[in-house]
Each structure stands twice: as C-alpha cells, then as structure tokens.
Symmetry: C2
Subunit: 451 residues, 2 copies
C-alpha cells in the first residue's frame, strides 16, 4: 500500500507544471501525503519545485517543507519571500515553525516573524526560539490539550473538543490548576471509560512524568524510551505547563543522534549529508585525515629511531602493518563497547575498574590466540628466528593489552569531562593506538633481542 514515486509520476508532474495545468496538478497531488510531496519536490528542478510549492495549499506545503532534507529546504526557502515563508509557518505547529526560523538568517527571521498575522502563534514561536535547540524547550511544541482540575467531565469534554481542533494529534490530556501548574494527566482511555458526572479532580492521574525546559534532548529521549511515553509535558521553572514533546520528534531525534555517532565513529568532524558539496565534505573529513597523517609521521619518527637496529633485524619491519592494524582494531572494539554502554546508561558504578578487568581478560585471550598463530606463520612463512618470533608474539599481546586499556579509558575520561565519548571511536583512538602500538613493538623487540 506504500506510495512509491515512479519516474512516470515525476514526468507527469513536470509535464503538468510545464503546461501550467494547475487544476489538474492540484487534483493529482491532493491525495498524496505531505511526506511524499516532499519526496516529489526533491526530485524536481528548483524552478518546478518553487512553482509547485506556490501552487499548492500552504496547509499541505508547510508539512511537506518540514519533511525535506535540510539542504533542499534551504534552497527552497531562499526562493520564497518573507511573506511566503510566513504563510507556511502559520500552518505549522509551533515547534516546526521555530525550527524553520532557526534555519534563516537573523535579518530574514525578523522579516518573516513580522509577516505572521496570528499573534498567539508569533508569541509561541518567539518563546520557543529562546531555548537551546537540543533542550526540551527547543524540542517542545506549544500545541497541547489541557483541562483544569476543577472542571467536570462534561464541561471538560466540551472544552477539549475546542482545543483538539488546534492540535494535530491528541496524546495525553494534561491537568493543571488555576495557575497553569501541572497537576497530572488524564489518559484517553480513562476519558473513554469515565462517567459524565465525575469530576476531573477525582479521575486524573497525579503521577505524571515531565521534563523541564532545560532538560537535554538525550535525557528526554531516554525517559520517553524507558517509560514508553508518546508525549511528555514540559514545565518551566515554576512548574507551569509550557509545552509538550511528542514521540515522533523524539524518534527523529534518536535517529539523528545515531547517525551523528556513526559519522563521528567514521571520522567526520561535523554532520554531513550525502549530497553536501565537496567543500563542506572536505571540511568534515580533512581534520581527521590530518590527525591520522600526523600519527603516521609520528610512527615514521619511531621507526627512524630504530633504523640502525633494523639493519640487523630487517624482518621486524615486515610486521609493522600487522601491529598497527591489530592495535587499531582492538582499540576501536574496546572503545565502542564503552561508548555504547555510556550512551545507553548500562555502565554504572566503578566502571573503570570493572571495564578494565573485563577488557584485559579479553585482551589476554584474543592476544594469545593471535600471537600463537603469528608465531608459527612468521617462523615458518617468513623464516624469522626463534627470538624474533618470540618478540613479535610478545609485542602483539602487549599491543593488544595496551590498545584495550587506552580504548577503555579514553571514552570514560572524555565522558567524565563532559565531552561526547563517541569522539573517541573515531580515527582519534586508531591514531594514538597506531603510534603507541608501533613504539611498544620496537621497545619489546629491543628488550628481547637486545639491540
């Protein structure tokens, strides 16, 4: 049943735009979901996309604009006037409108805001703009359904019907006192099963999860996930109900955070999208490549320091890539498990001691396996001497141990200093492990072979 954008559909729409068959075009797109309209807009040329957006009802285009990729949306908004943008914002929920305004230049922001007619909407949007984008205040919408604890079920139903008209989806119904302070919630199920003559005060659930405007987005996500919430009310410093966050925004937030962590682990220093231009991608990629480069040059210095001895033991140089690869792989494994544990809140208590114990046991087991295999392959495949093979094996175990320890400690230390530990799984840890690994390799060889 899913809608699939076909080339035929795009061609048909392009034809209708070209021949300016506006009514047919509207009819054609009427039944299509705004998320699908967004996909169609992405496929069209800039000119056609703008034509379509100006043609369609802003109730529909507003939601489609929210679904666009950031880069496409930026392009579209640049071609609209302040008044046209304002018309779209009027149709959006306050949180979406605030997000869009945040994407505009400061100058344009003021022009657009002054073009919005609905005063309450402007006031709500301006309030939301005050908060950090990744805080509960920045994630929340002002649209919600609330009832006063002093109302009766019948009176409440009438009032709620009016409020529900302005809310895209009704989640929990929040209960407030005369000063708008959050008292509790009324579940839709309770409402369906309540009798008309009951009072709100007698049927509401006083135990309600909430966050404050300053709660961080990650914490909001953790709470909503833990308690399986579909919406959570947001209160201000004096417990007044000021907004609510819905699960669809949190789903997007979780996905975005996961994508960011994945990119960070892959060595991008800023968020990028697949379509970003070469300049933006270079800005995100080059820093980590340069760190790797300096690591590589560091390794060159180390080898250079041992070059005299390498005339006597030239075969040791063959195994530098093996040492480096192993150190990198172990470091990433050890750090990834810590980073994930920290993110999911499953690491608790004296984690350094617990993790180090587990990681060192693992390093010894894995190190022994690899060292024994390499001992035999180097001896018989590469004809290294007995002592050379021994030093390679011992070096491998030591390097694996060291990499596991570094991989475990760095993310924990970063986390304690309020730096996102996910940074550690990038080329950062690989690079430091490369350098320390190669240094350890030569030092152990020096110790055993005595050069």
């Amino acid at each position: 049943m899913q809608f699939q954008i076909s080339n035929e559909l795009i061609e048909k729409i392009q034809f209708l735009i070209e021949t300016k068959k506006d009514e047919e075009l509207k009819l054609h797109l009427d039944d299509i979901h705004h998320a699908d309209i967004a996909e169609i807009v992405t496929e069209l040329s800039q000119e056609d996309a703008i034509y379509l957006i100006k043609l369609l009802d802003s109730h529909k285009t507003a939601e489609a604009i929210m679904e666009l990729e950031d880069s496409v949306r930026e392009r579209i908004l640049e071609s609209l006037s302040a008044k046209e943008i304002a018309n779209e914002l009027v149709e959006m929920d306050t949180d979406d409108a605030a997000d869009i305004i945040n994407e505009l230049s400061v100058e344009l922001q003021q022009q657009v805001i002054s073009e919005i007619d609905d005063e309450q909407h402007v006031e709500d949007i301006v309030e939301l703009l005050r908060y950090d984008e990744d805080s509960a205040g920045g994630l929340m919408a002002k649209e919600l359904v609330k009832v006063n604890e002093n109302w009766s079920v019948v009176g409440c139903m009438t009032e709620m019907r009016a409020q529900a008209e302005n809310v895209t989806r009704v989640h929990s119904i929040y209960v407030v006192d005369d000063k708008n302070r959050l008292k509790g919630r009324l579940s839709l199920k309770d409402l369906l099963t309540a009798h008309n003559n009951e009072n709100i005060r007698d049927i509401y659930i006083p135990n309600v999860d909430y966050v404050t405007v300053h709660t961080e987005g990650e914490e909001v996500a953790r709470i909503m996930r833990k308690y399986d919430l579909e919406a959570i009310p947001v209160i201000d410093e004096v417990k007044r109900l000021v907004g609510r966050i819905t699960i669809d925004d949190i789903v997007d937030f979780i996905k975005d955070e996961a994508d960011k962590d994945y990119q960070m682990a892959a060595g991008f220093s800023e968020d990028i999208e697949v379509d970003d231009n070469v300049f933006k991608q270079t800005r995100a990629r080059l820093p980590w490549l340069l760190i790797g480069m300096f690591g590589g040059l560091g390794a060159a210095s180390i080898i250079s320091g041992f070059q005299g001895a390498m005339l006597t033991f030239p075969k040791l140089l063959l195994f530098v890539p093996l040492i480096q690869a192993t150190a990198g792989n172990v470091g990433v494994q050890s750090s990834a498990i810590v980073v994930q544990g920290l993110a999911n809140g499953t690491l608790k208590g004296n984690i350094i001691a617990k993790r180090l114990l587990k990681e060192t046991s693992l390093a010894i087991v894995n190190g022994l396996c690899i060292a024994i295999i390499v001992f035999f392959i180097s001896s018989f495949g590469f004809h290294t001497s007995y002592t050379e093979s021994i030093s390679i094996g011992v070096a491998l175990i030591s390097v694996i141990l060291l990499a596991a320890v570094i991989g475990t400690i760095i993310p924990i230390v970063l986390d304690k200093n309020n730096i996102d530990p996910a940074v550690a799984t990038g080329p950062f840890i690989t690079t430091s492990n490369d350098v320390f690994g190669i240094l350890t390799y030569f030092l152990i060889a020096k110790l055993i072979l005595g050069f």
Copy 2:
C-alpha cells in the same frame, strides 16, 4: 522528577527482603514504575530478585520483566517454574508474551503455553510465534481497538469502552467490514469532535497506512518515521486486520538497529552487551581481529617482496604506517557515507556513478592537501630525496583515491546482493585498504624510483 535508584533504596529493599517484611516491601514498591522495578531487580542478587518477583503482583512484574536486559531476564526466567512464567505471560500484551516465549527452550515453551488459562491469549500468542521476529508479524500485538463500519457513533462508543479496557493504550481506532477486512481508521480527534448520531461509515478515514505480516521491521520503521505514525495496523494476505504495531516498539527497534550497526562498524561479528562474558565477547571480537591479522600478514608478504629494493631506499619503509592509516581512514569515511545513505534511503538513481564522481573529487582535494604537507615534512624532516618525496606524495594521492573507490563500491555491491552494507564499514574495509594501499605504495615507488 525522574526516579533515581539510590544505594539507600537498594539497601532498604535488601533489608526488607532479608527480614521478610512483605507488606512493607509491597507498599514501598507500589508507586514505582515497572521500568524502575526492572532497574532495582538488576541491582539485586539472583535470590533477592526472584523473591521480589514472586512477591509482587504479576501485573507489575510482567511489565518489569519485559524491561530487563536480555541476560538478566534469562537468569530470572531460569529460576521460575513453567506455571510462574505462564502467570507473568497472562499479564503481558501478546507481542511481549510471544517475545518471552521465543527466548525459552522449545521444551519449556510448550510447558509454559499449556499453563496459560486464557484460551484467546494462547491462540493469539501462538499465532504471533509463527512470524519471523523481525517482520511486522513478529513485531505486532493482537491488542487493538476496532469498530465495524456499520455501527453508529453511540454504539461504537459503548463497544469501544469495553475493548479499551483490554488495551494498554488506545491509538487509532481501526474500522473493519463484516469480514474483518481493514477499511480505514477513526482518529481519536474525530471521535472527540463527532456527533453521536453520525455513522462510522460516514466519518471514518478510508486512507489508512498499513503493513502486511511479512513486511520487514526496517521497512515498518521507515514508514512509521516517514508518516509520523504512532501505530500502524497489520493485515494478513487477504487484508484481514490481524494486529497493530505501536511506536514504542519501533523506537526500541530503531535503537537496537542503530546499536547493531555501530557495533558492526566497530568490528563485532555478533550483538554483545557490555556485561556479556569473556567467551561470548571473544566469539564476537576475534573473527575481525583474525581478518585484520591476515591482512597484516598479507602486508608483510608485500613488504618482503620489495625488501631487496628497500636496501637502496630504506626510508620508504618509514612511511608504511602513514600510507596504511590514511588508506584505512579514507576507506571508512567513504563507506560510512554510502552505508548511511543506503540505510536512510537518501541514495537513489545511478548511485555508483554519482558517488564515485563525488568521492574521487573529494579524494583528489584531500589527497593533494595531505600529499603536499607530507612532501615537505618528508623532505625536510626525514631528509628523503626529491624523487623519494615525489613517490611518497603520488602514492598518497593514489592510495586515497583507491581507498575512496573501494570504500564506495563495496557497500553498494553488498547492498545489491542483499547483504547488510553496514558490514563494510568494519575492519573488513580497513583491512583490504591496508593491503591494497601498501601494495600501491610500493608499486608507485617502483615506477618512479625504478627499482
């Protein structure tokens, strides 16, 4: 306002268990959310945990058991009899009950099922067990609220109140015909604003998103995210409404998938949890380390093949770690962007050509930057000859180009062959880039220096 488990609370509970103050214990835990009960259970000894679970009302413990980490749940279920497990399952939604049964041994499964009294519940669970765990059938619950298109709003309200009693949370209300075939949905908002004398047939929305029992979990997640759905109905082969999937399960699914991808990128060959024992973790980690090891040994063979020439150009060996690190870093960046684009559905059309063009331009820009820096540092810092510096620089650009091409093509090819492309960002791509990178380095040096 969030509940925080304190050491005092755990000690207090341990004391109450020890002194068998059952009533006080129950009173103490009465107000605590089942997700928090799960956290408390995790902190207790096995014996205390079982005591607590047997003591508390199974309505509460059933939900707490669902929230436990897999390894803790496994331990707890092992200590419960078939009858005791059955008592917990009766209190669970059908999807959760089916998930638990899936975790039991085949023998225990049948014992537990035969101990459940509620025949409808058994029938529903057995139906769910038929589906693949990661398909819509495996993710859905049987609990839902549905109304017949032929009812009136008043009749429907009465019937819905009865149905709602059995459903944890009411999402959309589904509309079916006399043969239970899905016709559409009735939004709660519509219900709140509808007049009692209207007919369902006249107010329901015929346009409803749905999936079939065989739709893959990832596709369900994509659809629910795209259309901001909080629940989606699931139909069988003949369009009969057989269940629904709620967003809280999809949120967990998305988080689990992201965690899996992250682990795969970090080089784990199977899902692990931070608390898994050394044996299980070794099984997940060693395979990738061994692949890396064979890559390292491959690199050793390559260097060995050029060892004669290295007597004349010994300084070339200094830069092997730099070449290797750069190849690895570039490969991971290029593949990560493809893997993420494929997962998010933002890569479309002739992606190989488009991606290769972008990646090769990026490789040339990044490669030039790094090659120029290394040219000067190697010349002045390591006193390499002019031709040696030139070959190192040219090799760097070539290796970066090659790594970008490999990193781009491998995930696309894997995806086309229905293999999860996320595999490609692990040590797999790093290893092949290491080996190809070092080979390229020596071949280019051979060409330029003529050995």
